[in-house]
Amino acid sequence: MRQTSGIISTYSADVFGVCSALFELGGMVVMHDASGCNSTYTTHDEPRWMDMDAMVYISGISEMEAIMGEDSKLVSDIADAARELHPRFVAVAGTPIPAMTGFDYAACAAMIEGETGIPALGVTTTGMNSYVLGASRAYKMFCEKFVKRDAAKTDAPSVNIVGMTPLDFSIKGEAESVVRFCERAGFAVNANFSMGCTFDELVNAGAAHVNLVVSACGLAAAKWMQAELGIPYVIGTPVAGPYADALADLLCETARTRRDGLCAAHAGTGDIAIIGENVRSIALAEAIALATGRDCRVISSVNEDILRPGDVYAPWEDDVIAALDGAKVVIADPMFAPIAPKGAKFIHNAHEACSGRLWRSEIIDPAAGIDAILSQL
């Protein structure tokens, strides 16, 4: 049955994707929620919470405030906090109850701006979709609101990394690995959306020659930058070895030809199944194909926009079980192990957006090498 899960995890939700995407940018992100979202996000989905003083809060909406439509309470609470804490911007995202009451995020943002003079984003989320949707919307709205339209291009080739949050890229050094990859490919990193970056760097994203979309979270913003700023994009994330070389070549070519593209040459077939976020999983599938000659199929539960022919979008446990039919090898977060086909080899590929902090210590940095996976095939 759709919507049921006997045992596997729930991916991080849209509202947490918003928080994760905007975390390092000096803003104040408010989840319009009764209670619980704050501790869930900061415990399981935000590994930077202990180390960076980013402002992420909940509104603490109550039953009567929801029934009476007391949006002014939220606006005044945000205004009070903003006046005291001086965020660079405010972002409001939501959860199921505001979705039910028809909360108007754009209007709320306008009211906050009017009240405080601080720019505000109203990111419509419901808490009922995957983190990819929330992060995508947050990045795109950030671009629309803040990115300069007239930034002069850098003299040297430069790239924006788009779609990088700890939900997909571990704080154990993956962001740095991707930056090193870009530099080896001949591109200085102009802006990183959004690990190890600042608000001002992102505002100047228009100075880059090309965008590297490293997760599905970055696609909407990349498309916006393509349309508004003329920056072409490549979809892919480095996996050490021949795939990284191919990705570097495509990055150079795209910067020159301005033709967008997904760095993939194989179909989603074969008896190796990879479950996870689309771009990382496709990159891993391609890298395995290049290294071993074996094709892999990708199963994504979080996004259906970026898939190769043969790859599958499977949002529910039963869909994943069906998509795994016939797989002899399953590469996935350990949370999926109980539903792997009997007899299939299960290779751990921990993913923070799935299992939170549970297996963080064994998360593989593909840009540094995937021998841990290849050696088990």
Binding site: S5, P96, M335
Partner: protein, 437 residues
């Protein structure tokens, strides 16, 4: 220290005790969550029921925290979900989703649970979901499984019973009436098993009573034996509605014997219990003397500032008062509000002109209130905000009660004074001491 990602001022919102309103010293507003996770949530508490399976019916964002709570406990095999989507809100098929979703989960389970705890959420309340219909149908479909209604509806935390109170009530809702054993007592609603060295446990056992607790139950049959108790005791404030409800439903007497660190209140509670059990009031002077000696030792050894937070025990002001009156330099109390039970401690500390400041934990500005303050912290949040590795790492009273709780506190404080602990790692562990897998 936290890496700064903005130019916000370093604020430290607090109010001096003499100026603190009771029971809510701080205005409500945006809420911050400090990364101290030792207290239990409703998923932890539900797992106390043996041979039960939890099924949460909620939106993805609400499920995320409890799914990973179960996973971190190693209890994913006792936990399933039914995810609410936008279309369910629009289509008005919430009852179908619950009935068919829960049924689907149960049919797929590799075992048949004795009980299923179905947790519904805020959206069910707001859509007027007919839960009676859902449970009636589920009980008809699975007559060998006991179902109970649990709630993850934090939007109701200011309306009637809180989700925490509801959980501690529903945990006992499947106990069937049984023949009462006049010499049987059950403790209800605490996270932790009552310490056998506590005066409470000693008095019950000394009077020849059986002592039952859900924490000691290995099987569903053990759990049902709680119905044999003739006296139900709650020690934790949020357990009171559950104690009252159970006694009213299946008979027996409910009595609240609160956790307290006040000598006279401990004695008054013991006297009340002795009357009920029909036994003699024990001579508590030896225990008082032992506590006096332990506190005197604390005063001698601990010369640094002491800070206390509400997660340590249900009487944060009581802990502050005990230590202040013992001569320790208590400087800070971390609490967002107080319970009515703390009024006496509040008044006593104010009457004594205690130089104590009250600090919130959830106020937005507390994001920037982390300091590196040389002190001994009692509780995880106090330790986090003060940035100290010298802290008492215990939550929710830790199963202690009475003079034994005071002796335990003294012992833990001495240990914390002498031995640093990895605060950052320890406070990150969710549901401290939850061994109910």
């Amino acid at each position: 220290m936290l890496k700064r990602v903005n130019e916000s001022p370093r604020t430290n919102v607090h109010v001096h005790l003499k100026d603190a309103a009771f029971p809510a010293p701080f205005a409500s507003g945006l809420e911050y969550a400090a990364p101290a996770r030792g207290t239990w949530n409703i998923a932890h508490v539900g797992m106390l029921m043996p041979e039960a399976h939890e099924i949460f019916v909620c939106a993805a964002g609400c499920l995320r925290g409890v799914v990973l709570t179960a996973a971190e406990m190693g209890a994913s095999h006792r936990f399933s979900t039914v995810e609410v989507k936008e279309n369910n809100l629009l289509d008005g098929d919430m009852e179908d989703l619950i009935i068919e979703g829960v049924s689907d989960v149960i049919r797929k389970l590799p075992y048949t649970p004795r009980a299923v705890l179905v947790y519904t959420s805020c959206v069910h309340h707001f859509t007027g979901c007919d839960l009676d219909v859902c449970y009636r149908e589920l009980r008809a479909r699975f007559p060998h499984i006991d179902f109970t209604d649990c709630y993850m509806n934090p939007i109701m935390r200011k309306s009637g019973l809180t989700p925490d109170q509801l959980m501690r009530r529903q945990l006992y809702s499947l106990i069937r009436p049984r023949e009462k054993d006049p010499k049987c007592v059950a403790i209800l609603g605490s996270d932790f098993e009552l310490n056998e060295d506590s005066e409470l446990a000693k008095m019950i056992r000394g009077a020849g009573y059986r002592l039952l607790e859900i924490q000691r139950c290995k099987t569903y049959e053990d759990y049902q034996q709680l119905g044999e108790a003739s006296i139900y005791i709650t020690t934790y404030p949020s357990a009171i509605p559950g104690g009252e409800a159970l006694a009213q439903r299946i008979g027996g007497t409910h009595i609240h014997i609160p956790y307290t660190l006040d000598y006279d209140e401990i004695d008054a509670n013991l006297r009340k219990l002795a009357d009920l059990l029909g036994c003699d009031m024990p001579d508590t002077k030896p225990m008082r003397d032992a506590c006096d000696a332990a506190l005197a030792k604390l005063r001698e050894v601990i010369t640094e500032d002491v800070t206390v937070d509400y997660t340590y025990c249900p009487r944060v002001l009581g802990a502050a008062r005990l230590l202040h009156e013992a001569g320790l330099h208590v400087t800070r109390v971390y609490a967002d509000s107080f319970t009515g039970f703390e009024r006496g401690d509040y008044d006593a500390l104010r009457a004594a002109n205690a130089d104590i400041t009250i600090h919130p934990t959830a106020h937005a500005a507390m994001r920037f209130a982390v300091s590196e303050m040389p002190c001994l912290a009692v509780g995880q949040k106090a330790a986090y905000f003060c940035g100290t590795d010298h802290f008492v790492n215990e939550v929710e009273g830790g199963g202690h009660w009475g003079y034994e709780a005071i002796l335990s506190l003294c012992s833990l404080m001495l240990d914390a004074h002498e031995n640093a602990k990895p605060m950052r790692e320890l406070v990150a562990i969710k549901g401290m001491g939850c061994s109910c897998v």
